[in-house]
Structure formats: structure tokens, C-alpha cells
């Protein structure tokens, strides 16, 4: 079972990221569970969303304490949230950033594997808005073998309708531009 934690700010689409990941996994015949950090929604405040993906039915309803993958939608969160908390030993942190791996490690103290992408720039260039959720999904798929690249296209199409094409483009560009640092 793979456990994923998304960090974002309210309104950036962390919950949507989690949902799309689960929907894609279920469409692939896998089992998945996506849930928000339950409670009032607060635009701009740090929020989390969670996903489990497994080849077997998922029984646990525990919170996720030790994720395999952490995805950070907003670069400013690194300074205020310990995004790597509980990360598994061979886990990976997928980051929206313009910084180098060396700079990230210095600021955050993260030793784990990193996947870096300038998701804000890609989002603005392809969609005209700095909403990075679908972009980061491209980065996540590049950095892990969670799901095939094509698995997200159906759910993206269904969720975004007439703006799906732009989201899919941002998603694919992130897949190409993401750099993985051991």
C-alpha cells in the first residue's frame, strides 16, 4: 500500500489532487481511499489531503502518519510546516519550487529523495493561473511508479471539462520537466 500526503493552502486544490489520484487508481482496477483533513475549509491556510493506493482492499481508517510520498503545492509552506514529518525511509518529497535540491535541503533539513519542478511557472504559462494541483500530479507520476502517465487523463477530463486540455498540458509538461534528486 502506498500512502500519500498533499500539502497546500486552502483553495490551491490539494483536495482535488488527492481525489484525482484515487479516481485514477480506481479506474486502473486498484483500490484507493482519498480524504481531506476533515474540518472547516479555510482559504489560504495550510491544509492537507490524503490518499491510499493498494492492490488489495483497504481496511484502515487511521490517519496517515508515515507517508511514502509527500507532495507540496506551495513553496512557502516549507518554512512553516514540517512537510517531511513521518516520511518513510525510502520516501520521496515532490516540491513546487524554483530552488535547487541543495537549497531546499538547507532550508528544510529534508534528507529524503526530492522531485523538483517549477509548477507555478508551468501553471501560469499553460493555464494562466498559479493553481498547481494538476501540475504537481505530473511531477508525482514522474518521480514514482504509482500509476502510468495516461491514468490521470480520464479523471482530469471528467473533472475539468472545457479547461481539461490546459490542465492535461500542464500535467504533461510537469512530467517532462521534473528533476529527481536522490
Amino acid at each position: 500500500m502506498i500512502e500519500i500526503r498533499f500539502h497546500g493552502r486552502g483553495g490551491q486544490g490539494a483536495v482535488t489532487s488527492a481525489e484525482l489520484t484515487a479516481l485514477a487508481a480506481i479506474e486502473q482496477g486498484k483500490y484507493a481511499q482519498a480524504f481531506p483533513s476533515f474540518g472547516p475549509e479555510r482559504r489560504g491556510a495550510p491544509v492537507m489531503a490524503f490518499v491510499r493506493v493498494s492492490d488489495e482492499p483497504i481496511r484502515t481508517r487511521e490517519k496517515i502518519y508515515e507517508p511514502n510520498i509527500v507532495v507540496v503545492l506551495d513553496p512557502t509552506l516549507l518554512e512553516i510546516v514540517n512537510v517531511a514529518a513521518g516520511l518513510k525511509k525510502d520516501g520521496i518529497v515532490v516540491l513546487n519550487t524554483t530552488k535547487t535540491a541543495k537549497e531546499i535541503r538547507k532550508v528544510s533539513g529534508i534528507n529524503a529523495k526530492l522531485a523538483l519542478v517549477d509548477a507555478s511557472r508551468i501553471a501560469i504559462e499553460t493555464m494562466g493561473i498559479p493553481i498547481t494541483n494538476t501540475t504537481l500530479l505530473g511531477a508525482m507520476l514522474k518521480a514514482t511508479d504509482l500509476l502510468p502517465l495516461t491514468a490521470l487523463e480520464g479523471p482530469l477530463q471528467e473533472r475539468f471539462g472545457r479547461v481539461a486540455a490546459k490542465n492535461i498540458k500542464a500535467f504533461q509538461r510537469a512530467y517532462e520537466e521534473t528533476v529527481v534528486e536522490e
Partner: protein, 391 residues
């Protein structure tokens, strides 16, 4: 053909209500039930469901409207939880007394105060003696299936009682997971159109809900008591038929790895599957621990429960509500009452856990099993513990 889809559990419940082809929905949105009625209002507005959606001004009005609607012979649905259910409680007592087969989802949530919106079973316990049939879902698939089952049972001429499907708020309602959605033909096969036995009809006037003078009140209550006791047989039949049609069989009391168990955990709701993982771990470690889950809460399945626990040495009952009566949680009190007439009674320790969204982990279930064994061995007088309290 049924279709396996990834869907939020709330929306799957709405789809079940749509497939049940309800006539009237009267509801007031309250977290964490909101998505259910929000989606139903969309289905009605978009023409996918030919029903009246009545957006009332409060839950008291919601249940009052449901009573009127059901009394006129309409298939009627609502959803609520917590403070909203507290507000409608006055009318919740009236619906079963008038034998109105309303179906209601309760997205289980704590009761204030402190002000809270998170999941526990306080509202289920608040309404335990209202006279509604109550089932409890463990996962999204059950939330969908039990909703259809609820209409089938409630409207059976041998029952005619309102039915609550309890679904853990957030822990289930806000989770996306794979659920098999039945198609309309399949649901129609299982759930025939509602045939009211008696209804408000201007061309054939009757009175429903008059005053019960002392000369008739006791008889009316006796009749209601017989009705809810007698409902169990229909509940079982409707589950059997559901299983025969769709391959998912449900029982009022489910057991997991109870063969040869000396210690049992007793749970209700979505954390039961987490408890199964703990049982698997403990069995691997050579501990004789099993799990008993209640899917039917009202009427209380005495016979099945006693059969499930007979012969064990100790039971850890998990309550997700606090009774505030000095005796721990309400479920443990009922379990103890159920066992009173047994010639050999197991030792019982009650754990109050997961209040208002406090996480209950696999490890916590191991602690409960170990804890009841230790207390029984030490001969401590039976009692209760609130777990995961920050001291």
C-alpha cells in the same frame, strides 16, 4: 449491470436514494451530511430525479415535512446529524409512532459542547430510543447497500417503521473509494414501488396522529414495541434477498476470526475494519482475539449477539460516545444488559474511543484487547477507560 466507480461516499448515498426513486426529500444541510442533500438537490434540479426537493428552514421542519409527506403515501427521504438531529428529535419520536416509513441517513457526528463537527456516535446514541430501526455502515459500499435495504424494510407492510442508516461523518462521508453502483433495473428488482397501507387522501379521509388518551396510549406503545421487535425478521429476509441478488450478504452481527477466541473486541461503524487489521496482527502473534461488529443497532440483535460472544472469557466493548452517567458508554451498558441472563458471563471492559474525530489506531485496538485481558486477570471490578486522553 452494476458499475464499480470511484466516488465520494456521500454521493454514492445520493445515488442510492435516486435509484430508490424517492418522491419527496425534505432536508436542511448540516456538516458532514451536506454533500448528500446537495447532490440530491442537483439531481432533482437537473431533471435526473423526478421528486420534490423541499428546502426547509430547519431540521425540525425537515422531519415535520417528512411526516406529512410520508403520511400522504410518498416515498420520503432525509439526512441529518448531530445538532440538526437534536433539533428534529421531537418529531423523530412521532414518525415511528405513526408508522411512517421514512428513510434517513445520519452522518454520525459528535454533539456540542464543546462545539464540534467531527465524527463519533453521540447522535446515534441520542436517538437510540426513538423507535427507529437503525443500521450501521462500515464502508462506502455498505452505506450504498444499506440505504436501499432501509427503504425495502421500512415500507414492508409487516414493518412500517422509519429507518436510519448510520454512516460515520467524514471518516466515511468525505472519503472517495471504490463502490459498486447498482443499475436501475437491479434496484427495481429489489425495491418494489411503495404501496401505502393507509394514507392521507381527501377523497377517503382518515385521521393520522390524534391524541392518545390514557385508555389507548399503553396499547399504542405495546403495538409499536411489537412492531420494532417483529421488524427483525423482515430485516434478515431483506438482507438475504439482497445477497441472493447482488452477492453481498449482510448480517445483524458480524464476526471476524472469532473461532477459538478468548477475547473479543466489539465495535460499530467504520473503525471496525481498522480493528480487523489489529485482530490479524494479534492472531499472528498467537493471541486468541476476535472481533464482533454490530450492523443492526435497533432493534438490538440480542439473539445473534449472544451467539457471537458465547463462551469467550472477556470482551472489550468500544463506545464512540460517552454516557455521562458514570458507567462509561451506552453500547457497553446494553451489551452488559444483554448478557445478564446468560449462565456464564464474560468479563467486560468498556473503552470510550474516537470522540469527535480523535483518531483510533490499529495499536489502540491491540491496547484494548491487552487491557481487558489484564484487567480480567487482575480481577479488577468491571469498568471503563476513555482512551487517547492527553493528560
Amino acid at each position: 449491470m452494476a458499475k464499480r466507480v470511484g466516488i465520494e461516499v456521500s454521493l454514492a448515498i445520493s445515488e442510492a436514494v435516486k435509484l430508490a426513486n424517492v418522491d419527496v426529500i425534505a432536508a436542511y444541510p448540516i456538516t458532514p451530511q451536506t454533500h448528500i442533500v446537495e447532490h440530491l438537490s442537483e439531481l432533482v434540479a437537473d431533471g435526473h430525479l423526478d421528486a420534490e426537493f423541499i428546502p426547509v428552514e430547519s431540521e425540525h421542519s425537515a422531519m415535520s415535512t417528512c411526516c406529512g409527506s410520508s403520511a400522504s403515501g410518498a416515498r420520503t427521504y432525509t439526512a441529518t446529524c448531530s445538532q440538526g438531529q437534536a433539533l428534529m428529535l421531537e418529531i423523530c419520536y412521532i414518525a415511528p409512532a405513526l408508522r411512517l416509513p421514512i428513510v434517513m441517513t445520519v452522518a454520525n457526528r459528535s454533539l456540542s459542547g464543546p462545539i464540534s463537527i467531527w465524527n463519533d456516535h453521540s447522535d446515534m446514541m441520542m436517538s437510540r430510543d426513538t423507535g427507529w430501526i437503525q443500521t450501521v455502515a462500515e464502508n462506502g459500499q455498505e452505506a450504498f447497500d444499506l440505504t436501499l435495504h432501509a427503504f425495502r424494510v421500512a415500507e414492508d407492510p409487516r414493518v412500517l417503521l422509519p429507518t436510519i442508516v448510520n454512516v460515520d461523518g467524514f471518516t466515511l462521508t468525505h472519503v472517495i473509494e471504490p463502490i459498486e453502483i447498482l443499475d436501475q433495473k437491479e434496484v427495481d428488482r429489489y425495491l418494489p414501488p411503495y404501496q401505502p397501507q393507509m394514507r392521507l387522501d381527501p377523497t377517503n379521509p382518515v385521521s393520522i396522529g390524534p391524541v392518545g388518551m390514557p385508555e389507548v396510549y399503553t396499547e399504542a406503545k405495546k403495538a409499536q414495541d411489537e412492531a420494532i421487535k417483529g421488524a427483525k425478521q423482515v430485516i434478515l429476509e431483506a438482507w438475504q434477498e439482497f445477497g441472493d441478488m447482488f452477492g453481498r450478504y449482510y448480517k445483524p452481527v458480524e464476526t471476524y476470526r472469532t473461532d477459538g477466541a478468548e477475547t473479543l473486541l466489539v465495535t460499530m461503524g467504520s473503525l471496525s475494519e481498522t480493528a480487523m487489521i489489529a485482530v490479524d496482527q494479534m492472531r499472528t502473534d498467537g493471541k486468541n482475539v476476535g472481533l464482533v461488529r454490530l450492523r443492526l443497532f435497533r432493534p438490538f440483535p440480542f439473539e445473534e449477539f449472544l451467539a457471537a460472544v458465547r463462551g469467550v472469557k472477556q470482551i472489550a466493548v468500544m463506545d464512540r460516545a460517552l454516557g455521562l452517567n458514570g458507567a462509561g458508554g451506552p453500547l457497553a451498558t446494553e451489551v452488559k444488559a444483554a448478557l445478564y441472563d446468560e449462565p456464564e458471563r464474560p468479563y467486560i471492559w468498556n473503552y470510550v474511543a474516537g470522540l469527535a474525530g480523535r483518531d483510533v489506531t490499529i495499536e489502540n485496538f491491540v491496547e484494548m484487547a491487552d487491557g481487558v485481558e489484564a484487567a480480567a486477570a487482575d480481577g479488577v471490578r468491571q469498568g471503563y477507560t476513555i482512551i487517547n486522553v492527553r493528560e
